[in-house]
């Protein structure tokens, strides 16, 4: 099949960008979306043009590097699918496809379809861990974890940090990302000691990073390639509130509404 692409091209963070039209020929249904872009890029290089820049690495939906807006939808039309796992059988001959980078204040464009998502790392650095050092830890079976808790924790821990939730959110909020980590750790006994502090500092960091507030549109869970549920956000808000009340401080001003 043949497609017409309109791809966002932007030479650098401060350069002006625009949509450029490309024809993608001989696209096969078994190709992934990125393989389709590879083919377009091969032709661009051969003709001496600069290829379209996009982030990618594992190409199996787990590293979280890839991600573009496809016709305005983060990661494209398939539910629970990262861009690298989206296959061209989801498109039809003659389709016109708009390909753009994640758009959010928290994610400045680096080049073309590639954005800077380092804010997500900084959110983790603000408390998304259990403060244990290497060594001296108790035996793995000393603390039983109910299977249901372990499973729910794993559901949240499956986040790949791609940023689709932010890109899909009309407010540009990173709540799903942040809540997934707070839930992952908060559901395990190992995460209890720092639970309050974690919620307070991660939420505060999220706000500092220019991400918007959550108003429960629910677009994030639709876009999430791992189908993480917005129930995690409810859990985050509860943890945040509880922690703020306990501390009796003004920490609540950071807001997790």
């Amino acid at each position: 099949m043949n497609l017409t692409l309109h791809v966002w091209r932007q030479a650098g963070p401060t350069a002006e960008g625009k949509l450029v039209k490309y024809e993608a020929h001989d696209v096969e249904p078994e190709m992934s979306f990125l393989e389709m872009l590879d083919v377009v890029n091969e032709r661009l290089i051969e003709s001496g043009d600069e290829p379209i820049v996009f982030d990618h690495d594992c190409r199996e939906g787990i590293c979280g590097a890839c991600g573009v807006m496809i016709n305005g939808v983060a990661h494209g039309p398939e539910i629970g699918t990262a861009t690298c796992q989206l296959h061209m059988r989801s498109f039809r001959d003659g389709d016109v496809v708009y390909v753009e980078p994640w758009r959010s204040r928290g994610f400045p464009v680096v080049r073309d379809l590639m954005v800077d998502r380092s804010a997500l790392d900084r959110i983790i650095a603000s408390g998304g861990y259990v403060s244990v050092r290497t060594g001296g830890t108790p035996d793995g079976n000393d603390i039983p974890v109910p299977k249901v808790d372990a499973d729910m924790s794993m559901d949240a821990a499956a986040c790949i940090g791609c940023g689709a939730c932010v890109a899909a959110c009309p407010n540009g909020s990173a709540s799903l990302f942040t809540a997934a980590k707070i839930s992952h750790l908060g559901l395990l006994p190992q995460g209890q000691a720092e639970r309050d502090g974690r919620a307070l500092s991660m939420v505060a960091r999220m706000d500092e990073e220019q991400f918007g507030h959550c108003t429960f549109f629910g677009e994030c869970q639709e876009a999430c390639p791992k189908e993480i549920s917005i129930d995690t956000i409810v859990r985050m808000n509860r943890d945040f509130l509880r922690a703020s009340l306990k501390r009796g401080s003004h920490a609540g001003d950071a807001g997790a509404d």
Binding site: E35, V39, E42, R59, I62, I124, S126, Y129
Partner: protein
């Protein structure tokens, strides 16, 4: 060059403990004065960087992705081994050690493997404490599954995302150290050379992938944890960015490269579907716990799988290896798949595939149980192939997956360049000629959390290191080399894209240095690769400049190194006139087609020294002596 293994004296079980006691320490206040560079943020790199930072060292950590969390360890699916014996099924440190040495076809160093098995139990404790959500039984205790090459259940897992969860544990530990300022992280930064001053590794030269700026970073020791080189085959289960550049440049600066031809072809990957294909996707070995591998008994049987009755199927692994069956080790399973396909009994397009069938397991356990165990893998399979594996058997075929070879290291994980340490898949150390499933994650974390923090202290405490500055000759000339090379790559202005050349290299490697190797084939490859390299340097096209983000340039640089490494792999494969593990020389096989080792002549590690362009590499041998296990022909029958 001399290979000194530095294996401590004393009985096998006591070596590591004794060594820990004998090694010198750096006192806590002094640690702050030392700078350590860690290249790589996978399981090995992230765990090493976090732990050394906790101890007090100043750490700089580098990765080429936009975040350390995206290192390819993230993609490991099946699990991690540990000799916990929680199942009470007869496991022990010794058994894990024994299985690993045997699984590696007796081409690894006993002392290292024993240490690995010992440390395995601490790894699980560490990860649990970090909040890794391992699978649990209903009683709340940790669950296990089985992996190839073992008859006990010792593999810990987090659904089909074990690597992801372990890496996130290490990444979070790393972020915690970044937050306190004792690790400085450099994402989107690629190491392009090693700085060696007065014979010691003292830094690296990197390119900032966003701006193209080339600069040096100096330190008291350099740790390379840059993963495997499976992408030399172009198509592999590795991420697209996985490369050999860091270790290859270190090799060219004096680090011996050990057993480069020991590569692992994984038996269960989704078959190739077309020329545009950019990578191959693994279907975890854990699936072989419940899936049965078969092909039609007769060549040319084109009936859909469901219509082929049991008596017309050949469950060839169960038939040939009754005691390990579908859980036979990877090298053996891959070769068996190739063999049935060569006989014309393969299934799917091109006849390059075998069935992995869950029908019996679903009958026995129900679809829900299977979904719980492998749900995400089944989904992944369906997304790629558009076939529902709950209903029709998966089609799988072997693909390049893991590289046992890597930089030679001593017991302290130090390469032949003092001060340059190598961890994880990038070193050659623990897996001999074949790695068992669920052992790479174990090794990466053992190296990073538990070995390097001690051995690096010993190195720093035992050596007086002079200060080095950016304007030292060795530093400046290394930076210049990198600049010059980058300029060269950009100036060829030919007609071929890196991808097209890479694909061609991949074909050569797969054909002649893949699952079956012959002297003749390897000689052919040794004429084809230099020609292709010439084509590369004459006809490459890299648009754009070096002073900007340029992914074509990145790919070209990595390919240039693969084009050199590929040749060394063939040289190594040609010289090793025996079959062992993943290295199958067709001339050397038993009457029933199994690998035929030659312990008299080849029970050694082949460590190759680089001595200059267009000069044959020099072979150094580290003899392997086995005190604790008896050398025997591997049998999984």
């Amino acid at each position: 060059m001399e290979l000194r293994s530095q294996v401590p004296e004393g009985p096998l079980e006591k070596k590591w403990d004794q060594h820990l006691f004998d090694m010198k320490l750096v006192n806590p206040a002094n640690k702050r004065k030392y700078n350590v560079i860690v290249v790589g943020s996978g399981l090995a790199g992230a765990s090493a960087a976090a732990t050394m930072s906790e101890l007090g060292y100043n750490v700089k950590c580098f990765c080429y992705q936009d975040s350390p969390r995206r290192a390819h360890s993230i993609a490991a699916q099946g699990g991690i081994n540990a000799a916990k014996n929680y199942q009470n099924d007869g496991d022990s440190v010794y058994r894990l050690f024994y299985d690993t040495v045997k699984g590696g076809d007796f081409r690894s160093r006993e002392a290292n493997v024993y240490r690995l098995a010992q440390i395995s139990v601490n790894i699980i404790d560490q990860c649990v404490a970090q909040g890794v959500p391992f699978a649990r039984e209903y009683g709340g205790l940790l669950a296990n599954r089985s992996f190839g090459g073992a008859q006990v259940s010792r593999t810990f897992y987090a659904r089909g995302q074990t690597g992801q969860q372990l890496l996130l544990g290490a990444y979070q530990a790393l972020e915690k150290e970044i937050a306190v300022g004792s690790v400085r992280m450099y994402p989107r930064t690629e190491m392009l050379d090693l700085v060696v001053v007065d014979g010691r590794a003292r830094g690296i030269v990197v390119r900032d992938l966003r701006t193209g700026a080339i600069s040096s970073h100096l330190a008291d020791a350099v740790v390379l944890a840059t993963g495997g080189y499976g992408n030399v085959f172009y198509l592999s289960t590795n991420a697209r960015g996985c490369n050999t550049t860091a270790i290859w440049r270190a090799h060219k600066r004096g680090a011996a490269f050990a057993n480069p031809c020991f590569t692992q072809i994984h038996p269960t990957c989704i078959p190739v579907s077309g020329d545009y294909q950019s990578k191959l996707t693994l279907m975890s070995e854990s699936l072989r716990n419940d899936g049965r591998v078969w092909v039609p008994r007769k060549a040319g049987d084109n009936r859909p799988p469901n219509q082929i009755p049991k008596e017309d199927r050949d469950y060839y692994l169960e038939r040939k290896y009754p005691s390990f069956g579908n859980l036979s080790p990877r090298d053996i399973s891959s070769r068996a798949a190739k063999q049935v396909c060569d006989e014309g009994r393969g299934v799917g397009p091109g006849g390059r595939g075998v069935y992995l069938d869950f029908h019996d397991a679903i009958q026995r356990l129900g679809e829900d149980k299977i979904r719980e165990r492998y749900g995400n893998l089944f989904e992944m399979y369906e997304r790629i192939t558009d076939e529902n594996p709950y209903k029709v058997p998966m089609r799988i075929y072997p693909a390049s997956h893991y590289t046992m070879g890597g930089l030679w290291v001593d017991y302290n994980l130090m390469s032949t360049i003092p001060g340059c340490f190598v961890l994880g898949e990038a070193n050659y150390s623990d897996h001999g000629a074949n790695r068992l499933g669920a052992s790479a994650l174990m090794q990466g974390l053992a190296d990073g959390y538990f070995v390097i923090p001690s051995t690096i202290s010993n190195y720093l405490a035992s050596n007086k290191l002079d200060a080095v500055t950016d304007d030292a000759d060795a530093v400046r000339s290394t930076v210049q080399d990198v600049e010059e090379r980058t300029r060269r790559l950009l100036s060829i202005n030919g007609t071929r894209t890196p991808a097209s050349l890479h694909r061609e290299l991949g074909h050569i490697m797969w054909e002649y240095c893949g699952m079956g190797r012959t002297a003749e084939g390897l000689q052919t490859a040794l004429t084809l690769i230099p020609k292709l390299r010439e084509e590369f340097w004459q006809n490459l096209r890299v648009p754009g400049s070096g002073e900007q983000l340029n992914q074509t340039l990145e790919h070209a640089g990595r390919l240039a190194d693969f084009l050199e490494l590929g040749e060394l792999m063939c040289v190594d494969a040609l010289h090793r006139e025996e079959s062992c593990g993943g290295h199958f020389r067709e001339e050397y096989q038993t009457p029933d087609g199994e690998a035929l080792r030659n312990d008299d002549d080849f029970a050694y590690v082949a460590a190759w020294e680089y001595v200059g362009e267009n000069v044959p590499p020099v072979l150094h041998k580290e003899p392997l002596t086995f005190e604790s296990v008896q050398l025997s022909q591997r049998s999984y029958k």
